[in-house]
Amino acid sequence: MRGNAELHDLIAPGNLTAVLDLLAAEPGKWTPIAGGTELMVAFSAGRLNAPRLVSLWGIRDLRFIERREDSIAIGAGTTFLDLRKNAAIASELRLLARAASWIGSVANQSRATLGGNLVNGSPAADSSPALLAYDAEVEMISLRGRRRTLYAEFHTGYKRNVLAPDELLYAIHVPLRFARYRQYLRKVGTRRAMAIAKVALGATAMLEEEVVREIRLGAASLAPYPVRLRRTEAALIGRKPSRETADAAREVLLAEVKPIDDIRSTEPYRRRVAANLLEEFLLGLQREGRGA
């Protein structure tokens, strides 16, 4: 354990307005900490470069799951356990429910928050592929007001995002219309539990008369941040899922993704497995289309 608690200041104003006041008054000086499942790991390793932290834990305004007319709004402070226990998410956003069950272990899920997962911005973030495939929006808040952007445009580089220094991630809005689309989500890790994704792919697709009308592919660990595979998607619009389509899409994906060698896996493996996952999804569509 290499962290020194005496070298950090941590305060808990306890409500959203007070936190926003603080961020507005001293932008960039205070690091928000929610469940701590990322920041406290860095702290223990002696790598937490955050002398002042402001706790978001327990702020009710950030922890909610609301079913609205055509979307579900999820507060950034919602834990993965909250997500798993929610009936609407289980039935209508099942990829997100599944992703929530992948996060660490039960003990991590009770503390890790959806907002923290996105703001931490790991390219391997467990919730990202599902949110990308669902075309989610993120809502950011500051004293200056609120704004939204597509989650797909939230990350701008490795661990960089569009949050301004006085902004907090407030909520994630997930459209419900994908509930009736074909859906797919698979994570490939080092073992069945407590595993960081080597590759993960989330997909939603809508077919009409066996032809792909819409498709969204969200990928983890294939780029410096979680991304939509737009070129691969484009190659599939208007196509009928088949072996030939899958082969052609595979080539586009292989050219589009930018995995790396790192301590957990290799670039050739990630590349190949990503292509395999896509193929698994597409051939599954083909089979479902035949009513098999």
């Binding site: 073992r191 595993a195 896996s265 497995v273 996952l277 051939l283 599954g284």
Partner: protein, 753 residues
């Protein structure tokens, strides 16, 4: 001394002796303990793998007056850790031979300050070219140890290997590699040390072998026996990883205690423990095998090389056991094993459950399947045709005088696993499935106790005594670290004394209170030490009958009454015994010939493995383990040992990879060193056949290491069965499976889901 057919305590699932404390969270591990006025120690380690230390400077931003600093110059006695060869410095002196080598020790009353000061010690080096691989060491481009990098070598010969090739119907070659493996005990290494002129050095800590630590402390501090005391604290897992390293850590903590005048605690965090302490020796095993037209072994020719790291530590004994297990449970008239342990600039490798046998058993059992494939014989049939039987000789020409029941173990393993039916079913299903399944077998033995004359050299002393308040204490220096030492030995004593299990306890594992009954390693505790405890107990009963009026049969209370009677006359109630070798143990250390082990445990393991061709992940779906370990002293503990060892073997095969950088572990965090979780372990079915061994406690043989020998080859044999591709190197990660499958099969393989 007979091995009793019916016993009261031995063989029963009595509660773990220290179980209640562990379940209450009351067991005291070293980091749970404090001493008055205790300081905290930290270690400054080298960040290059090889070089001359040019300067050591202390950054003035730290007020060093608050600290105590220790270097090699402060060592009162010999600056070496005493294992087999005293080549490893306690603290580096003028040069370093591996990354993470300890150079400077720091202590401070504040734990944070001690740790933070480490980066304020600036060491400059003149680097020298390092070597990291067996091949680099063999080539001797750089000589980093001794005259030629060779830590140890053996040559084991039987018959005349070179005459066999010309007559062979088949000759099969193969090369097999095993990687390093980390113990990953959940409790990191830790010690607390105190020093005073009157009492000398006292240490408390997480360790396996109090008298090993004792020996090094005596030498480093140049102190007589009565001025060194080593006490084991409750130890949270060891697996061999706390056989030698604790000596280093104890000396470090004690040096700081001596210089500071305060007790000093040094407990590693996970990152330091992973980077700086020992791991299993990596190995390269080359086989060349001659067989006749019936698939019977004519000659086994093995070239075995291990990577020992920068210092000898236990490399010679690991190499020895690796050599003696390398030819498998098979009968072969001509054998040659050339073994070498090579020095490199890696963090020194050390003991780990199996101690060389997992490496060479992996190679032999994989090779048997390759032979089977090459000559067109079923892998089970190939083994059956070559199994050792009663009266056969091993590679060292040890005659199998105890029953060898490999055929029965194989029969049972195949039946329980439904091996043939599954292979047939999987072969059909694999043609149309993205998940390929296979079955794999491994047959093996593990020698119990120290090799050859090792037990005679250890000359263990153990016994029992009785306290005035009516408790029997088992007097041994053997330690509990989860495997059940406390329970087994108190069971044995209770049984042999004829009293209640609840009235027997372990004397504290404290060199000030217990004799040296040898280290807790080599699967010797039940068989060898248990036997000493049994004999000492029987001896005590005889004495009480002869001199204190104890009757032919008696109650527990009558026993203790007799003890008090005995105490009146003799002043104490104590019975000890020394090791006596079983008759006929003849071992030639030069020729590596004769009775290598007094007893062998035998096993056949079967793995069912699924390989997912979408993700290239291999998972063990189910596992069957059939073994003969003599008498099973405690059914729950024994099964627990097998299951735990298998889980580690599964990790060794499929998950646990040490990623190296400059010869030290780069993935030194639990998030990046992958052991199987509760969701990854397969269902494990354990079966025992019992053939009591008359020279072991109540018929017991060794059990602790056996289960780590079998899983890796069984699993990789199953993968070969599943995929048709031979994988000869572990750990076998999905990335490696991908590379192997892609290399041998067309890229565009249609998946039918």
């Amino acid at each position: 001394m007979s091995t009793h057919a019916t016993t009261r305590v031995v063989g029963a699932p009595v509660p773990r002796k220290e179980g209640v404390d562990k379940l209450l969270g009351r067991a005291c591990y070293v980091d749970d303990l404090q001493r008055e006025g205790m300081w905290y120690g930290a270690t400054v380690r080298s960040n290059i793998p090889r070089g001359i230390i040019r300067s050591i400077a202390f950054d003035r931003k730290v007020d060093w007056n608050e600290f105590v600093v220790v270097t090699a110059a402060d060592v009162p006695g010999e600056n070496h850790i005493h294992l087999i060869i005293a080549d490893q410095p306690c603290l580096a002196d003028g040069k370093v031979n591996h990354r993470e080598e300890p150079i400077v020790l720091i202590a401070h009353p504040d734990r944070n300050k001690a740790r933070e000061a480490v980066s304020a010690v600036k060491i400059e080096y003149d680097p020298l070219p390092p070597i990291f691989t067996i091949e680099e060491s063999e080539r001797q481009d750089q000589v980093v140890w001794g005259a030629d990098n060779l830590l140890k070598s053996f040559l084991l010969e039987k018959g005349d290997v070179d005459s066999a090739w010309a007559h062979a119907a088949h000759i099969v070659e193969g090369e097999y590699r095993t990687g390093a493996q980390e113990h990953l005990y959940i409790e990191n290494n830790g010690m607390i040390a105190e020093y005073s002129a009157e009492k000398g050095v006292t240490v408390w800590g997480s360790l396996q072998c109090p008298y090993y630590v004792f020996k090094s402390l005596r030498s480093v501090f140049d102190l007589p026996e009565d001025k060194v005391r080593v006490i084991q604290t409750e130890t949270g897992g060891a697996f061999g990883g706390k056989e030698d390293y604790p000596s280093n850590l104890a000396c470090h903590a004690a040096l700081l205690a001596m210089k500071s005048g305060h007790p000093v605690k040094m407990v590693y965090d996970r990152m330091e423990d992973l980077a700086a302490t020992t791991k299993r020796h990596p190995a390269r095993v080359r086989h060349r095998t001659a067989l006749d037209s019936d698939g019977k072994l004519l000659a086994i020719d093995i070239d075995l090389a291990t990577n020992g790291g920068a210092y000898a530590t236990l490399s010679s004994t690991v190499l020895s056991r690796a050599t003696l297990h390398s030819t498998g449970p098979y009968s072969c008239p001509n054998v040659r094993v050339r073994s070498r342990a090579w020095a490199t600039n890696m963090v020194p490798f050390g003991a780990f459950r199996g101690f060389g046998a997992p490496q060479t058993i992996f190679a032999m059992e994989r090779h048997m399947d390759e032979i089977a494939a090459a000559i067109g014989l079923d892998p089970v049939e190939l083994r059956r045709r070559n199994f050792l039987h009663d009266g056969d000789t091993t590679a060292t020409e040890q005659v199998m005088r105890e029953p060898v029941i490999l055929d029965r173990l194989m029969d049972r393993a195949l039946e329980e696993s439904d091996y043939y039916a599954k292979r047939q079913r999987f072969a059909a299903e694999n043609r149309v499935s993205a998940v390929k399944r296979g079955m794999g077998v491994a047959a093996f033995y593990h020698g119990s106790g120290f090799t050859g004359s090792g037990e005679v050299v250890l000359n263990s002393l153990a016994g029992v005594d009785v306290t005035p308040d009516g408790r029997v204490r088992v007097l041994v220096s053997n330690t509990e670290f989860g495997q059940g030492t406390n329970t087994i030995l108190t069971q044995v004593a209770a049984e042999a004394l004829g009293i209640d299990y609840a009235r027997v306890e372990m004397a504290p594992p404290d060199t000030g209170q217990v004799p040296n009954s040898g280290p807790t390693v080599a699967s010797r505790t039940s068989m060898v030490v248990g036997r000493l405890v049994e004999r000492a107990s029987v001896q005590l009963v005889s004495l009480l009958r002869a001199q204190a009026g104890l009757g032919a049969s008696y109650t527990t209370e009558e026993f203790f009454a007799a003890c008090e009677c005995y105490r009146q006359a003799k002043g104490e109630v104590l019975s000890t015994c020394r090791y006596e070798a079983p008759p006929g143990i003849k071992w030639d250390d030069q020729k590596y010939h004769g009775e290598a082990y007094p007893a062998f445990a035998w096993a056949v393991y079967v793995a069912q493995v699924a390989v997912d061709t979408v993700t290239y992940s291999a998972e063990v779906e189910e596992f069957w383990a059939v073994q003969e370990v003599g008498r099973v002293l405690h059914p729950v503990l024994a099964a627990g040992q097998i299951e735990g060892g298998i889980a580690q073997g599964v990790g060794y095969a499929l998950y646990e990879k040490v990623v190296w950088q400059d010869g030290s572990m780069a993935n030194n965090q639990m998030t990046n060193y992958i052991m199987p979780t509760a969701e990854d372990v397969p269902p494990i079915h354990v079966f025992f056949e019992e053939i009591p061994f008359r020279h072991g406690a109540f018929g017991a043989k060794g059990i602790g290491e056996l289960p780590h020998d079998g899983p890796a080859p069984a699993i990789l044999n199953a993968i070969r069965d599943a995929t048709g591709v031979a994988f000869n190197s572990i750990p076998l990660l999905p990335e490696d499976l991908f590379a192997g499958l892609a290399a041998s099969q067309p890229i565009e393989e249609p998946i039918t889901l």
